[in-house]
Symmetry: C2
Amino acid sequence: MLDVKDIYKDYEKYLDKDITVQGWIRSHRKQKEFGFIDFNDGTYLKNLQVVYDNTLSNFDEVSKMRLGSAISITGKLIKSEGTQDFELKASNVKLEGDSKDDYPLQSKGRPTREFLREIAYLRPRTNLFNAVFRVRSIAAYAIHKYFQDRGYVYFHAPIITSSDCEGAGEMFQVTTLDLDRVAKSGKVDYSKDFFNKRASLTVSGQLQAETFAMAYKKTYTFGPTFRAENSNTKYHASEFWMIEPEIAFCDLEMDMDIMEDMLKYVVKYVLDNAKEEMELFDKFVEKGLIEKLTKLINSKFTRIDHEDVITILKKADVKWEFEPEYGEDIAKEHEKYITEYFKGPVFIKNWPKDIKAFYMKQNDDGKTVAAADLEVPGAGELMGGSQREDDYDKLVKRMDELKMDKSSMDWYLNLRKYGGCTHSGFGMGFERLLIYLTGVDNIRDVIPYYRTPGNCDY
Amino acid sequence: MLDVKDIYKDYEKYLDKDITVQGWIRSHRKQKEFGFIDFNDGTYLKNLQVVYDNTLSNFDEVSKMRLGSAISITGKLIKSEGTQDFELKASNVKLEGDSKDDYPLQSKGRPTREFLREIAYLRPRTNLFNAVFRVRSIAAYAIHKYFQDRGYVYFHAPIITSSDCEGAGEMFQVTTLDLDRVAKSGKVDYSKDFFNKRASLTVSGQLQAETFAMAYKKTYTFGPTFRAENSNTKYHASEFWMIEPEIAFCDLEMDMDIMEDMLKYVVKYVLDNAKEEMELFDKFVEKGLIEKLTKLINSKFTRIDHEDVITILKKADVKWEFEPEYGEDIAKEHEKYITEYFKGPVFIKNWPKDIKAFYMKQNDDGKTVAAADLEVPGAGELMGGSQREDDYDKLVKRMDELKMDKSSMDWYLNLRKYGGCTHSGFGMGFERLLIYLTGVDNIRDVIPYYRTPGNCDY
């Protein structure tokens, strides 16, 4: 089965030869005695130009073929006299599957992204979304390749879970209880539920990944995670994919080394392996995208303490919407300022412990934790990592302070009793990376079928 | 950071040089003036032998170090006089994290798999499970590599879904309704639920993957799927990972070609890239495993109609527990017989339509569908695929016969209206593959944290 991509990769190999391709009509211009079809088989962003004329036995039928129809074409690949290098001179065109006049993707006008969300099952047939979801696939592979080439073990974290990583996250409940019967009976009996207890969808695989880091030294997750947060922003989805590496014998500095190295690798891999797609984004979605990403690959990321960031922000001659404060989180406007100030990506490290998660390594100052968030120009926070608390007593104390239920977490605590060690990890939201890579700045447009409050189609 | 794997890959590079490694004590034999540590850092199945003597400044401390403790060792890699090629002569041993005397993995005796399930968070530190989950990682990567190298687009199927692929599957419900409040109020109001309707965990990403096949020609999923089935067998888990490729312009014969080619590729990749692990399984879990797998790679898979299989079974001089019948499903004993009969893997194709799913292509005989299940010696069914029904009217008629709700499936039906074509796909349960690859024949032992009825720990 010949792919259009094969032809583009080395068209001279096929010149003046008879070939057969199968795919779809993207556009169709008909004249009285001949016609042109923009043909796409989905293996390559660019169309193959097909020409035919009235020497075809079924010329009349072919000239009526509609946009979106599936066809098989046999013909000779010839040098083109037009702007393209080559075109396919058809000797046989066969209809495989007709389309309809109400086919929603007509060639006139460019459909809005909002309209395309309503026909999400057809949007990968448009150039923009075809490029987005191909880049999604290529970036996913780049991530696997990065970690596998370096000896990391891919860990499938459980999706249904009875533990709650971040503390009081907003989680989806998973149940086989018949809710109508619950309503009728007037009580909830978890002993009748599938797992004999309350279960939820995971918000993070990190805690479980730590168990693998203590066995394999290097591990990573890449799987779906969930938040039942009632947020309707461009950056929030209820279901999204996360990458969560965990590394034993690794402190915060080494953790940042890995974050930086991995990001550069993935960005470079996508630039090298999705050239046409990246050019499309650069031209139509975010001017300067390729330059931005190339700059990232070649830059040294700044590393600076949270406290020093606040000092810089306080000194800045800017009227802030939110006043920067020591000991507090920073806002989008601060993130923006600080990446512009350092003219590149910035790791902000050693965060106030009260605004960070319980499992982060407490620094000797008693106030901060060994955590680092990566801020990148134009996108804000892209990853967050930390050294993990490896001191059993400190961890227990912190969990008690936060009134966390330790009863189902003994396995996690025990990692500190049975050969614990300095270890670190980080998390990267895959869709956040894709927004950064493509310039397509709504999370609904970088997931094939997005889930947000009130939306669960397909 | 030097990995033990690096040393094993090319130990001569490190001979007589000072190196530092970090990992855990797997076993420890102490003498009066020297000692041996079996050291493992998780990057390689085999241990590194470490020798130390009383020239160490902290000899007394080192000689008391416990099983499971995390340590850093600096020393010279030297030729060994024992059975190994090399060993590490320690000049410095530092305790990174102590272990306890109640550490559950003591070196005496081999713990049972049942016992290890109860401490699932520690079992990847044992040789067997270390090998299992590393093979899981390598096999996952092989699958990605196979499809990516051939231009398939990796598709993340939605996990939370409002459609039900197989008809009346047993699904987990996903909700943010407060069940206590549901019980109190006496009614279930889905307009208050997160998605404003009933939602479930996916049982298959196939239907959605078909939308990508119609855009990219070649696509595959690799993600978690769920069944709320109350089965407590060795082969059933409530949460498992599936691979579901979909290919446009592909009929059942081509589909079987791909299934066969992919399986051989993955098996070969694992044999080549997990040599030590496969040798361990061959030695301790399933004698003859490597021979079985090597035979698979080199065999041509038989392809035979379901009807002809029944004829063979009926003729067989065997007292069946379940009598084989035309038009009916086949049992485990039949699967076993038929792979032995053909001395290798067998595709059983053209199944009676009444026992197969609604989306399968109806053959012209009006009785069968263009489906093929792959049966392999020693494991039974490993994959199932089919050509998909591309005739809009036939598909609607079949869904009506099965009294399926078409209202939320218009997008699926529309694929047949807007440039549909001959297309096929298949599904492979990842854990089923792992059972076949490792010989470890309980699904609970090839998933890091398994979910079965009543079990949802971690």
